[in-house]
């Protein structure tokens, strides 16, 4: 097994992706786009899967909630996984609804024992219904979730240690949170069990707010900033398993060559980390 590097599938990137499969190892597809799609469109996804490995990424299950994820939604994910046979699937450690109201957004829940327990219960159900445990992704947030009694690294570690789910570590989310809430992202990485890091998300964002109170927004519309590559190198040095690294871009699309160059830069960063790891082991 080796590290894999790929792009998020977006319709406007289709030609660029399908024309450069020699430089793209894997494609990440937003699963929710296909839950209610006609059979023929889901079959197109299977055709994509015949060209390149596919991983499915969910955005609407709401795993990190004290409320159980609806069985219907997990059934939809299970059906899609059966049809597409992805190499893996993932969801966010976020809540997206409550009291019958859809937030329409991936919200960071209070980091408490209740949400740890709720997330673990949801992940167990997800594994039981889908057949494979999802990887879980840390989310970006612009507000420190009220009601939290532990820091994010502790909260995430507790969830992955007590479930079968590995971590999909979104490094731009981590970078943004570390800036917005003034903590050390490298310390965060070292506190995550290295054998449980399975995948990486890379993205970009923009500064928002007044000059004296600027915050970094993860918007997926900008290039991956330098500090994120530095974090990636750090993860490459500590992660013990092959990584799947996905570059996410949701709009403001540059030429595909520019995205591929960012992907190559990510390869080099992980390779540097792996080399460091080998040197230490030797």
């Amino acid at each position: 097994m080796r590290d894999r590097f790929g792009l998020g599938w977006r319709a406007k990137l289709a030609l660029g992706i399908l024309s450069n499969l020699d430089r793209i190892d894997i494609v990440e597809v937003i699963a929710d786009d296909y839950f209610r799609a006609p059979h023929r469109e889901r079959r197109a996804l299977r055709t994509l899967g015949a060209q390149t490995p596919v991983t499915l990424h969910g955005v609407s299950l709401g795993m990190a909630s004290s409320v159980l994820v609806e069985t219907k939604r997990l059934d939809e994910m299970a059906r899609l996984c059966d049809e597409v046979s992805p190499v893996s699937w993932s969801e966010h450690l976020a809540f997206v609804r409550g009291g019958g109201i859809e937030i329409g957004h991936l919200a960071a829940p209070p980091r408490s024992a209740a949400t740890v327990d709720g997330a673990i219960a949801n992940l167990r159900r997800a594994r039981k219904i889908v057949g494979v445990a999802p990887q879980v992704e840390n989310v970006a947030t612009l507000i420190d979730p009220p009601g939290s009694d532990r820091d994010e690294a502790t909260w995430v570690s507790e969830i992955i240690l007590h479930s079968d789910s590995d971590l999909l570590l979104d490094l731009h989310n981590l970078h943004a949170n570390s800036i917005n809430f003034n903590f050390d992202p490298v310390d965060y990485i070292t506190r995550i069990p290295p054998e449980r890091i399975g995948a990486i998300h890379l993205a970009g964002g923009k500064w928002i707010g007044r000059p004296d109170a600027r915050r970094l927004l993860d918007d997926h519309l900008h290039d991956v900033p330098d500090p994120v590559y530095q974090l990636l190198e750090k993860v490459g040095a500590c992660a013990t398993r092959p990584l799947t690294v996905i570059l996410e871009r949701d709009g403001n699309f540059p030429p595909i060559e520019w995205l591929l160059e960012q992907l190559d830069r990510a390869r080099r960063a992980v390779a540097r980390g792996r080399t460091r790891r080998s040197a230490v082991a030797a």
Binding site: R10, T47, D219
Partner: protein, 308 residues
């Protein structure tokens, strides 16, 4: 009750139902035999391969002509085209493009390309590739189709002519309508037995059009500016793929509007994907409804409290 003893009108009704069942069975059996459970893997970045899948060699020639005009290697003058003065067949790598540049060393009608054997030969590798992927029928598929058709002919003529013989034997000669029905059912059975594509091929066209649905949206932003003269890549590849996947008619409204008019009236079948060889699927209505993707962050940021 022996159906062959039924009065004429009742037997005709029975025969129509019987022929309908046989023809339906023929279609069902072909679909079942030709729809592969596994998904074919072909080079989805090759516009000519996709154009061939969608509409055969004529579509390949249409797409190649448009892209060569866009790259400045062919020059159009009304319904005639000619190789540009500074162009040479050696300046391109793809055989069908080379063949087109050779063919139009001197000015000629666009319609001539559809009758040229050299151009047909240049397209043959696409047919072989698609046959290997079971998207076009190969000899094995053809044999299967033939066997099923022979069985259908046996059933349709067997039942029909048994009744004709019984009627003639009884001295009744009013069997003209039944004979017409027999012939009509045979014609229909033969006509539906040999479509250009396999069922997997038809499905693949829809899949490709779904995956490339995003190309249709920015059509007005595609301009016919110069692309690389020597390769199909670069600035020209998006409109080229759009034409390959959806037909040159899909370029209407863009800087390539000339493309659709170029072939209008040159062939009975329009160059638009909806009319090419009858096997193109529902390309004109296809969009990327499920492929437009994007995470919950969408294109407009994360709404002020984070993202995925």
């Amino acid at each position: 009750m022996n159906p062959f003893d039924l009065p004429g009108p009742q037997f005709l009704l029975i025969y129509i139902i019987f022929a309908g069942l046989v023809i339906s069975g023929l279609v069902f059996a072909r679909r079942r035999a030709e729809l592969s459970p596994s998904t074919a893997r072909i080079d989805l970045s090759d516009p000519y391969l996709i154009a061939f899948l969608r509409g055969g060699e004529k579509e390949v020639l249409r797409v190649a002509t448009v892209t060569l005009i866009q790259r400045g290697l062919l020059v159009r003058d009304g319904k005639q085209i000619q190789r540009a003065e500074n162009a040479s067949p050696n300046s391109v790598r793809i055989p069908v493009e080379q063949a087109l540049l050779k063919k139009y060393a001197r000015s000629g009608k666009i319609s001539w390309m559809f009758e040229d054997e050299g151009l047909s030969l240049a397209c043959e590798p696409y047919a072989r590739t698609l046959q290997r992927a079971r998207l076009l029928p190969d000899d094995y598929v053809h044999r299967g189709r033939l066997v099923r058709l022979v069985i259908a002919i046996f059933l349709l003529t067997g039942v029909g002519f048994t009744r004709v013989m019984i009627a003639l034997d009884a001295g009744r000669t009013n069997v003209g309508l039944l004979i017409v029905l027999i012939v009509a059912s045979l014609v229909i059975a033969a006509a539906i037995s040999f479509p250009r594509l396999t069922e997997t091929g038809k499905a693949m066209i829809f899949d490709v059009q779904t995956l490339y649905g995003g190309l249709r949206h920015p059509v007005s932003s595609i301009n016919a500016g110069p692309a690389s003269a020597t390769s199909a890549g670069g600035a020209g590849v998006e409109p080229m793929m759009l034409a390959a996947v959806f037909g040159v008619g899909a370029l209407a409204g863009s800087g390539f509007s000339f493309a659709d008019g170029l072939f209008r009236g040159q062939d009975k079948r329009r160059s638009n994907s909806c009319a090419s060889d009858g096997d193109c699927g529902s390309s004109c209505s296809t969009s990327s409804s499920s492929c437009s993707g994007g995470s919950s962050c969408g294109g407009g940021g994360c709404g002020g409290c984070g993202g995925s």
